[in-house]
């Protein structure tokens, strides 16, 4: 196997704070003031050292070698440098220091449908988009039928793209990019759009590109599921450096556990108006974890009841709505994921094909997890809201992952399931998700009469 991409000591620096003042007048004004020894009238108020331009290193000494045919996943929280790295790789912006050596043609899918012109027809846009990505007319001609078939827009080929639905837009964009036959394909978060069917199709296509055609793929996503499905190798970026470079499973576990601890949500999450997760019908408003006495809390003793309250908003009438709460368990030793479960709200008590339309308005889902059920560790709560009678996967409106966390701590109380056992409950590397209070009795067998 030979190397397809070699990144050597790559740095990218951005100027922070005042990046030019946007107008020539202000630039001159600042320059004049500084020359006269006065304070820059355009600096931020209160910043005494405003004359010094502060720099932000978006990438710090990245060294990376990627083999041909490998699917590399990049994960990391927002601002970790993922997009910067991709932008440099796709030559949209250039690095500050260091270099990247590439073998073959790069196609980047930083956003699907870039360069689509709304007035042009689907057919014209396929050619335009292909050409933007460096294909000749002839090459596109040869791929044309495949692209159209993959995108499923045959009927609308001669319709201007501005009349396309957003789904068609995305499908067409992805179809063109996936058929570019690049040696290196860069994919950024595109699978987040489109329905479940399309996502599946897209993931299969990327798989096919990498395994059958021996192409190198770099894939960035916040969706750990797709990352897990696709990638052979995953790196975790944090503050511009690679903090983990391992198999998909190990890196993901590392990331959702330790890597992003500071950015985990605890206690309560309330979404601002424009940031509410959800579709056109249902949007998530907030979620919080509370103690029995209604006090907001994120750390529970093992013998305490946990109350979870989800608020959501129904925006359109005429739908059935069901809320599902999922729990991912990370043991508190190595923070590996050691299990999960989910529950559905009381909608399931209705007959499944019954019409039970929800009104427009705000709704609340409450869940009580009894004390002495879950083991110590960290739990991430996943909220999915979907529209029965369809199943969750095909009709979800809200789909989140580990949107909020809570910790369970073993307080060594003898009235819990621990009793007076004084030692660590978690044995070995694995974690045990539940520690229920069950009746377990041992007694002397009298007269050798066993029950078995």
């Amino acid at each position: 196997m030979s190397t397809a991409i070699k990144i050597e000591k790559l740095y990218k620096e951005y100027k922070l704070g005042v990046i030019g003042r946007g107008t020539l007048y202000r630039d001159l004004q600042s320059w004049w003031a500084l020359r006269k020894g006065k304070e820059d009238p355009n600096s931020l108020i209160g910043s005494s050292n405003s004359n010094k331009i502060k720099n932000h290193l978006a990438l710090k000494e990245i060294n990376l070698e990627i083999e041909e045919g490998q699917v590399l996943g990049i994960i990391g929280s927002n601002g970790a440098g993922k997009s910067t790295l991709l932008k440099i790789l796709s030559r949209v912006t250039s690095p500050t220091k260091g270099q990247i050596l590439l073998k073959g043609r790069v196609a980047s899918l930083l956003e699907v449908g870039t360069g689509f012109h709304p007035e042009l027809t689907g057919r014209e846009n396929i050619f335009l988009n292909g050409a933007i990505n460096g294909l000749s007319k002839l090459e596109i001609q040869n791929k044309f039928d495949q692209i159209v078939e993959f995108a499923g827009v045959k009927k609308f080929l001669d319709t201007p793209v501005k009349r396309y639905s957003s789904g068609m837009h995305v499908r067409l964009g992805f179809a063109v990019a996936a058929h570019l036959d690049p040696d290196i394909l860069i994919v950024d978060e595109v699978l987040a759009v489109g329905d479940a069917d399309f996502q599946k199709k897209a993931i299969n296509k990327i798989k096919e590109v990498s395994s059958d055609q021996k192409r190198t793929v770099i894939f960035v996503s916040h969706n750990m599921n797709s990352i897990q499905k696709l990638c052979d190798r995953v790196i975790v970026l944090s503050n511009g450096t690679i903090i983990k470079d391992d198999t998909a499973k190990n890196s993901i576990n590392f990331y959702i556990g330790k890597g992003s601890k500071s950015e985990r949500n605890y206690g309560a999450v309330k979404f601002d108006n424009d940031k509410r997760p959800g579709g056109k019908i249902v949007k998530l408003l907030s979620i919080c974890t509370k103690k029995e006495n209604n006090a907001e809390c994120s750390q529970f003793n093992i013998d305490e009841e946990i109350n979870i309250i989800v608020n959501f908003q129904v925006l359109l009438p005429g739908y059935n709505v069901c809320c599902s709460l999922g729990f991912n368990y990370y043991n508190n030793k190595n923070l590996n994921k050691n299990g999960s479960f989910y529950v559905l709200d009381d909608y399931i008590k209705n007959k499944w094909d019954e019409e039970n339309n929800f009104k427009v308005g705000n709704f609340k889902t409450e869940l009580k997890i009894p004390a002495n059920l879950l083991n110590e560790g960290i739990y991430g709560i996943t909220v999915d809201i979907f529209l029965p009678p369809s199943n969750l996967d095909s009709s979800f409106q809200v789909r989140t992952r580990d949107i909020i966390y809570f910790d369970i701590i073993d307080n060594y109380k003898p009235d819990s399931s621990r009793g007076n056992y004084p030692y660590d409950w978690q044995l070995g590397d694995d974690g045990f998700m539940i520690r229920p209070m069950l009746e377990v009795k041992t007694s002397e067998i009298i007269n050798n009469e066993t029950d078995i």
Partner: protein, 281 residues
Amino acid sequence: MSKDYWTTIIKPSKGYINVNLYELVKYRDLIYLFIKRDFVTFYKQTILGPIWYILQPLLNTIVFTIIFGRLAQIPTDNLPPFLFYMAGNIIWGYFAFCINSTSTTFVKNADIFGKVYFPRITVPISNVIIGLLQFSLQLIFFLCFYIYFVINGLSVNINYSLIFLPFILLHTAIIALGFGLLLSSLTSKYRDLTFVLGFGIQLWMFATPVVYPLSIIPENYVIFSILNPMTSVVESFKFIFFGESSIKLIHIFISVSISISIFFVGLITFYKTEKTFLDTV
């Protein structure tokens, strides 16, 4: 492992020109499609459609004829004012279109430039070619009037110099690209320059012998007018059709050398901006 093994090396931007001609040839279809896109979408959802291409210079010419010809009575080297203004108008129109569209290359395409790599220079190149297409339409239109006037007794001194037309157009393109590329780097940083630009081009037109002939400028000041490279373009354009101009060969040489220098300055700035503009928009 030798360096040849790698097909692309991504490095920090350096201030030299790296016009990769091979790459440009590879992307020739893109240039073609850009041209097609902009040419076609220009008149989508308009009433008059492609007629706009010739209506614009026609209306301008009529206005100029009335204001500068009839009211201000500016001499036109003994040529019919209508033809005189129209000639000036279409060649200036070509220049103005090229410089306008080139100077907003980064601002208008920031979205797509931020997502995918292709040689950015393809955008200005396609703009210049679109300008050329528009100009050709307008030239045909102009020739119709020209022939009409000749039939009606206008005596013109038409000669071999017509073969220089392509060079004049090339010269115009070089000036427009030079300034346009330079300005495109500036507008990517200072948005307000785009507003200044429209006004500036208008002023520039009045500083160029478009609505008046070079011959009305006093001898001592002609050299200042020549420092404006568009003077020689407009004057020589009129010369090849009317055989009438006070421009001299030495003037054209001066102006061409100015244009070429500006072109390279513009090109260097453009390539420098291309690599980092995303961080400043």
